[in-house]
C-alpha cells in the first residue's frame, strides 16, 4: 500500500523506465549497415538456385522431373528430348524465380543432387527476365557460388535425409558437450 503511494507520488515505475532508456543510450547499437557491411548468409541458406555439376564439369541433372513434380509452387519446367544413345537430354531447365518460394523441396526431391540453393540472396533487377532462370544461368550460378569443395560440403550437409538420420548419428549435438556454464 505504502509502496503504491510512493509509486504514484514519485513516478518510480516511470523513472525506472527512463533509467533503462538512459542506460541504453550508452550501449552499442546493433544496427547492421547493410549495403555497406554485408552479413554473410549462414551455410545452407536457401537462396538463388544453381544446377550442380559433377567433378568432370558435366551437369548432374538427368531430367527425371522429380523436382518439378514436387515443387509446391510449380515453378520448375524441364524439357527433355531423346538423345543419341536413347539417353534423356535436358534441353531446357527453367526456373521462374519470381514464383519460387525457396522451400528447398527440389533439393530434397532430386535423387542425383543436381539442383541446389545457393547462399546468394541479393537478387534484384529492373527486368523480369533476370528472374527467369534457364539452364545456362543456373549452371553459371554453380560456378559462381559453389566453386571448389563448397559444393560437396553442401550436399553432405543439406541433402537430406541421409541414412544417419534414420539410424542415429554418433556425432550428434548434445547438451552434455556444452562447456558453457550457467551464469550464477
Amino acid at each position: 500500500m505504502k509502496n503504491s503511494l510512493v509509486k504514484i507520488m514519485f513516478f518510480t515505475e516511470i523513472l525506472k523506465g527512463m533509467a533503462l532508456t538512459f542506460r541504453t543510450l550508452f550501449k552499442p547499437a546493433v544496427t547492421r549497415r547493410y549495403p555497406l557491411v554485408k552479413v554473410p548468409a549462414q551455410p545452407g541458406y536457401r537462396g538463388l538456385h544453381a544446377l550442380a555439376k559433377d567433378n568432370t564439369g558435366r551437369m548432374k541433372c538427368v531430367g527425371c522431373g522429380l523436382c518439378g513434380a514436387y515443387c509446391p509452387s510449380q515453378c520448375i519446367h524441364i524439357y527433355t528430348t531423346e538423345g543419341e544413345d536413347h539417353n534423356k537430354v535436358v534441353d531446357r531447365y527453367e526456373i521462374d524465380v519470381l514464383r519460387c518460394i525457396f522451400c528447398g523441396f527440389c533439393v530434397e526431391a532430386c535423387p542425383f543432387g543436381a539442383i541446389t540453393l545457393s547462399e546468394h540472396y541479393e537478387y534484384s533487377s529492373y527486368s523480369k527476365n533476370a528472374f527467369y532462370m534457364n539452364k545456362e544461368k543456373l549452371l553459371a550460378n554453380w560456378d559462381k557460388y559453389f566453386e571448389g569443395e563448397k559444393g560437396n560440403q553442401y550436399f553432405k550437409k543439406f541433402w537430406r535425409p541421409l541414412t544417419e538420420d534414420f539410424k542415429g548419428n554418433p556425432e550428434q549435438a548434445m547438451f552434455s558437450k556444452i562447456t558453457r556454464k550457467e551464469k550464477s
Binding site: I14, G17, M18, L20, T21, F22, T24, L25, F26, K27, P28, A29, V30, T31, R33
Partner: protein, 351 residues
C-alpha cells in the same frame, strides 16, 4: 546589442531607421538561429532516440549524418504538393502558415541573454501564452479543411487538448509570476538569479511539475501526442499534407518545443543565469561578456529538449479521455494548490 550596433549604423540610416534596422537584424538572427536549431533538433531527436533503441539514427548523409536535416528539408521542399479534392482550399493553405507563424512570433519575446530580445515587452509571459494558444488554430483548421476524417478527429482532439492544457500551463506559471512579481521574462530571470535557491524549479516544484507535463501536451508530444497518434489517426491533423506545407507543420512543432523549453528555462531554471551562490563562489564569471551566457541558456534549453526525446523514447501514449482527466482533474487542481501555497507563503513573506 543596441549600444553595439547603434554607432555603427546610425551614420548610414539615421536614428529613426536605425532602430528599425536593429530590430530587423535581431529578427533575422533569432529566426535564422532558431530555424537552424529546429533543423538540428530533429537530427538530435533521431540520434538520441536511435541510441536509446540500439540504433544509430541518421548517419549516411554527411559526416555522422549531419547533413540529414538539410537533405530532409530539400526533399520536403521539392516534393509534390498534393491537395485533396475535398479540401477547403483557402483554409488548407492558411492552416500551416498560422501554425508556423504563431510559433515563430513567440520567439520575439524570448530573451536569449541579458538584453537580447527582439521585443522586451512587459507582458512577455502572457504574450507567449497567447501565441501558444493560437497554434491550435492551425491544427484545427488543418484538421477541418483536409476533408479527411482522421484529420478531422485529430483537429478536434487537438483543439480540446490545447484549450485544456493551456489553462494548466497558465496556472502553473502564476506561481512564478507571484514569486518574481513580473510578467517580463527578463525581470523573471533576474529575480530568479537573485533568489537564494537560484532556480524557481525548487520552490515551485509543484508548478514546475505541472508545467512540465503541460509542456508535453501543448506541443503534442508523447505521451500526449493524441492529435497525431499514428496508430490511431494515421498522422492526425496533417495526414493530408505533403511537401512544403507539411514542412511548415513540422518546423512549427519543433519550434514550439524549442519555445516551451525556453519558457521552462526562463521561468524555472533561471534562464541564462547561474544561481547566485555559484556566482558568489566564482566571482570572475560576472566579468564575462553577456553574450557568453547564451551558452548557458542553450544548454538548459537543450536539457529540456533532451527530456522531450527521452520521454518519447520511454513512455506509451495516453488515451484521449485519460488525457483530459489528467488535465482537468490532476494538473489544474495541482496548479491551483500551488498558487494558493505560493500566494500564502508570499503573503507571509517567506518567498
Amino acid at each position: 546589442m543596441n549600444s553595439f550596433l547603434e554607432p555603427i549604423l546610425a551614420p548610414f540610416f539615421g536614428l529613426m531607421l536605425t532602430n528599425i534596422v536593429i530590430i530587423l537584424i535581431k529578427v533575422a538572427i533569432v529566426i535564422g538561429i532558431t530555424l537552424l536549431h529546429v533543423a538540428y533538433a530533429t537530427y538530435w531527436e533521431r540520434k538520441v532516440i536511435g541510441f536509446m533503441q540500439f540504433r544509430l539514427g541518421p548517419r549516411e548523409v554527411g559526416w555522422f549524418g549531419l547533413l540529414q536535416p538539410i537533405a530532409d528539408g530539400v526533399k520536403l521542399f521539392f516534393k509534390e504538393d498534393i491537395i485533396p479534392a475535398t479540401a477547403d482550399k483557402p483554409i488548407f493553405y492558411l492552416a500551416p502558415v498560422i501554425f508556423f507563424v504563431s510559433a515563430l512570433t513567440s520567439l520575439s519575446v524570448l530573451p536569449f541573454f541579458d538584453g537580447f530580445a527582439v521585443a522586451n515587452i512587459n507582458i512577455g509571459l502572457l504574450f507567449l501564452l497567447a501565441m501558444s494558444s493560437l497554434g491550435a488554430y492551425g491544427i484545427v483548421m488543418a484538421g477541418w479543411s483536409s476533408g479527411s476524417k482522421y484529420s478531422f478527429l485529430g483537429g478536434l482532439r487537438s483543439a480540446s487538448q490545447v484549450i485544456s492544457y493551456e489553462i494548466a500551463m497558465g496556472l502553473s506559471l502564476v506561481g512564478v509570476m507571484i514569486m518574481s512579481g513580473s510578467l517580463n521574462l527578463t525581470e523573471i530571470v533576474k529575480a530568479q538569479s537573485n533568489y537564494p535557491t537560484g532556480f524557481y524549479a525548487i520552490p515551485q516544484i509543484l508548478g514546475f511539475f505541472v508545467f512540465f507535463v503541460a509542456m508535453f501536451a501543448e506541443t503534442n508530444r508523447l505521451p500526449f501526442d493524441l492529435p497525431e497518434a499514428e496508430s490511431e489517426l494515421v498522422a492526425g491533423y496533417f495526414t493530408e499534407y505533403s511537401g512544403f506545407r507539411f514542412a511548415m507543420f513540422f518546423l512549427g512543432e519543433y519550434t514550439g518545443m524549442l519555445i516551451m523549453s525556453a519558457i521552462g528555462t526562463l521561468c524555472f531554471l533561471g534562464g541564462w543565469t547561474l544561481p547566485k551562490f555559484i556566482m558568489d563562489l566564482l566571482p570572475f564569471l560576472s566579468e564575462l561578456p553577456p553574450i557568453v551566457w547564451v551558452v548557458v541558456f542553450l544548454g538548459k534549453v537543450y536539457f529540456f529538449m533532451f527530456l522531450y526525446y527521452w520521454v518519447r523514447a520511454t513512455l506509451p501514449r495516453y488515451r484521449y479521455d485519460q488525457l483530459m482527466n489528467i488535465g482537468w482533474k490532476v494538473l489544474i487542481p495541482l496548479a491551483l494548490v500551488n498558487i494558493v501555497f505560493t500566494g500564502t507563503l508570499k503573503i507571509m513573506g517567506w518567498f
